[in-house]
């Protein structure tokens, strides 16, 4: 792997985060809303927050973001804060810090999303390869492709909705919602907690698998058909290699490369999709918190979560970019043409 390539990818990683942070910074300022005043005014009016308390909170937030300084200074302060992952206080849960909330909710979301992505990718790759293989009987494709086409084109939360109704509500095979049993406390050291966690994560994971595995399987199937037509595939067969070896080493290995690229491109879609689905599962994770923050207009919490999501997606994309040359040695990573 060339140093130049690594440097370019690192640069890209920072560019992505910088762009997202800048959008975060400028858009709300263009709109001319003052979320702090807006929210505090509402809290004084409806929740009986004391005037002095609100004043103190406003001063703290103002000084944290330097809102009384000129715009360019605000921008620098803001960027510094983003780099140090300081997102300020949640307006609605003051004085809790946004970063604390993100860690607390994020650790509920991260395990199930990671597991779901890995499982759906593996299922998609292997099943797609099987479907596209010329030794698989034709009827398999006829049976599986149409439903997979439908599943891969609907949003996750739609599948989630149907699963909740049929699996959880009707058949009562899974919990209706929540991230763990209400009787338990959030203790990541206890086995009972983990058991309950995975039981509750079952349907969210399933909804991701149904949508994503279908998409990848379809893509993989199309690639398999293309790869099978290549000369090296015919050559491998002519050499009399074992079918298994041809399938895994010659066909699958080459066909899965575009799927890995699309994994990087799909990540953002999966994560935001799961975030929406979380609100339907009333799953106490990052996505649901984002949903609540939006309805309550908890400004700093919204932007903190958005930035964290962008950062993690950019980071995973970066990791995939680093792994890619190991899988496809043809890629020399000299300056690409065109």
């Amino acid at each position: 792997m060339r140093a130049q390539y690594v440097i370019r990818r690192v640069l890209f990683l920072f560019l992505v985060i910088w762009t997202a942070a800048s959008i975060n910074f400028f858009l709300p300022r263009i709109s001319g809303r003052n979320p702090i005043k807006e929210q505090l005014g509402m809290q004084i009016a409806t929740q009986g927050r004391k005037g002095d308390d609100a004043k103190l909170m406003e001063v703290r937030l103002m000084s944290l973001f330097g809102l009384d300084k000129p715009l360019w200074q605000q921008y620098l302060i803001y960027m510094g804060n983003v780099l140090r992952l300081k997102f300020g206080y949640s307006i609605n849960n003051y004085p809790r810090q946004v970063s604390t909330i993100i860690i607390q909710r994020g650790r509920m979301t991260l395990p199930f999303i990671a597991v779901a992505i890995v499982i759906s990718f593996l299922i998609g790759i292997f099943f797609g390869a099987f479907l596209g293989w010329n030794k698989t009987p034709k009827w398999v494709s006829t049976v599986f492709v149409p439903p997979m086409l439908v599943f891969s084109s609907v949003p996750q939360f739609l599948v989630a909705l149907v699963l909740i109704y049929f699996v959880a509500f009707r058949a009562q095979l899974a919990p209706m919602g929540g991230a763990y049993d209400r009787t338990l406390t959030e203790n990541f050291m206890s086995l009972t907690f983990w058991g309950s966690y995975w039981r509750h994560a079952m349907l969210p994971i399933l909804s991701i698998i149904i949508v994503e595995a279908s998409g990848w399987a379809l893509g993989m199937r199309a690639m398999m058909v293309t790869v099978e037509g290549e000369d090296f595939a015919t050559f491998a067969e002519a050499k009399g290699l074992k079918t298994k070896r041809i399938f895994t080493r010659y066909l699958m290995r080459n066909a899965m490369l575009p799927s890995i690229t699309s994994l990087a491109l799909r990540l953002g879609f999966i994560i935001t999709g799961a975030a929406i689905a979380e609100t339907y599962f009333q799953y106490n994770g990052l996505g649901n918190t984002l949903g609540t923050a939006i309805t309550q207009f908890d400004y700093f919490l919204i932007y903190g979560i958005v930035i964290i999501m962008v950062m993690s997606i950019a980071l995973v994309t970066f990791i995939i970019d680093m792994i890619y040359p190991l899988l496809d040695p043809r890629i020399s990573y000299v300056k690409q043409r065109g």
Binding site: V16, T19, P155, L161, V162, Y165, M176, F297
Partner: protein, 283 residues
Amino acid sequence: MKNLAAYLKRNPTLGIGMGMLLFLLLFSTVGRLFINPDDAYTQTMEVNQPPSAKHPLGTESQGRDLLTMMIIGTSKTLLVGAIAGGIGLALGVVLGFVSGYYGGVLDTVITSIVDIFMTIPAFLILIIIASALKGVTLGVTSMGLIVAMISWPGPARAIRAQVLSMRERPFVMMAKLSGMNSLEIIMKELVPNLLPFLVMSLSTSVYGGIMASLGLEAIGIGSRREPTMGMTLFYVQYYSGFLLGLWWWIISPVIIIVMTLTSLVLTSIGLDEIANPRVRSKV
């Protein structure tokens, strides 16, 4: 007409996709003749009624007639997609052609920007935009415009790739030699040749626009009043439609959404077969 039927027989994907789309359009236009559009807004019916002769698809928790909501909502959801997809594609076409045809520094800049915006999830940008604009009432048109703001990177990238491969073809060379300027070449040579591809891109963009708007509406960003598909699903969750077991409230929007999205995807695949003869008969 006979030719069309013969063609659709060879390309059933396109036929099914267009057929479903046509059905949805008829459902929402002809359907209007049989209903009172106000029933999708009035909130004066009995709430949570199962399907009956009076309410063929039942009513929901705000006292609206679901059949009416579906008829009105289908066209609204399609409209959001059409606005977002149309504008997004137009931006993408401009960027794609400029970047692919002229190349150079401009190409590097545009490609980098497109790459960055493909990595940042569009949905998150939409959330920032929508929450920054909360004072604005988010009707169907403004929803379409907002979604359009993030709908350009995909088409831009795809069209750039097409233009790149087209640029080196002999007929473009011929045009250049015969003294056409760049704009003429783009308009007279490239665009007509890419037309099927552009139509396919439109279908894909409309699909993307509808997906994005559904996501936003599903978590409550959208017009609280309009009976679009996404808002209907938002209210299912808001009034805990599952816990009450109101299956008719869940099933109708789900069917409409699945039909809408599937029809657009099938249309894209079918058109891809026209635009891209190499994939012919492989799908």
